[in-house]
Symmetry: C2
Subunit: 150 residues, 2 copies
């Protein structure tokens, strides 16, 4: 056995997909070449970042999803973006935003289970200088990445 599966999941999280021009052409009843031209234009202006897969995360061992609201320690308070970029590198992080209000950052994280989350949290607090965090554990993921999950 070659465990192609896990390598596919890794690649599909961020890319290795492409538009279905023929299907779109049929759907919106325009010539495939017109569709092709317009897609290339969107790509050229970098309005499209990538094409990727959306998973049912429970089925790929990433069913534990948490939103983390973060206050940074004083030293890091002035450069939340730099910290956010560090945080973004972790493959379990679905999203990171620098935000207004009572918190500096909001992270959306996908882990296998609560134990893996605990490991992440312990490390992150030290590594990224979190002063305080509030975690909202997802009980039910109704929609992700614009895709309804039912």
């Amino acid at each position: 056995m070659k465990d192609i599966r896990s390598r596919l999941i890794k690649l599909f999280k961020q890319g290795y997909c492409t538009p279905q021009i023929a299907r779109i052409a049929k759907k919106i009843k325009e010539p495939a070449t017109t569709i092709h031209y317009n897609i290339k234009k969107l790509e050229k202006e970098e309005a499209i970042k990538t094409y990727k897969a959306v998973f049912d995360y429970k089925k790929i061992e990433e069913g534990y999803c948490i939103y983390i609201l973060v206050n940074l320690i004083q030293e890091n308070y002035a450069e939340p973006e730099k910290i956010a970029k560090e945080i973004a590198k972790d493959s379990r992080v679905e999203s990171v935003d620098v935000v207004t209000g009572d918190y500096e950052l909001i992270i959306k994280l996908r882990c296998k289970n609560i134990d893996e989350y605990y490991e992440y949290a312990k490390e992150a607090i030290k590594k990224y200088g979190f002063a305080k965090t509030i975690s909202l554990t997802s009980l039910k993921q109704v929609k992700t990445e614009f895709v309804e999950l039912n």
Copy 2:
């Protein structure tokens, strides 16, 4: 002019993409048929929900991104999932989760600007029975949908 662009964006938000088998085969140095077989298996077990595009949302007039923490009114408190499913139907909603803690729901929303957001908020409070909301406006989207935005 046919305004193919906006129709493409709409389709690409949730689908109309497909894996690049040849590219993956080259990348991980396995036969294309093996890749094909493994992808179909992932699809069959519904581990993969769809293939879609990720946008630079500023470039498609959806640059205003907000996380909304929601408390439901007493009447709706017992069925957050039902409300979440209603919320999920709106195409501006990237994600909705039912969560633990001080709030019942967390919504990630993408709008054109603050005005559009205000319209959404006004309507949502009534329509979905929000008792109280806290909005975290994204100042900088560092990573979304597992894709770093720089």
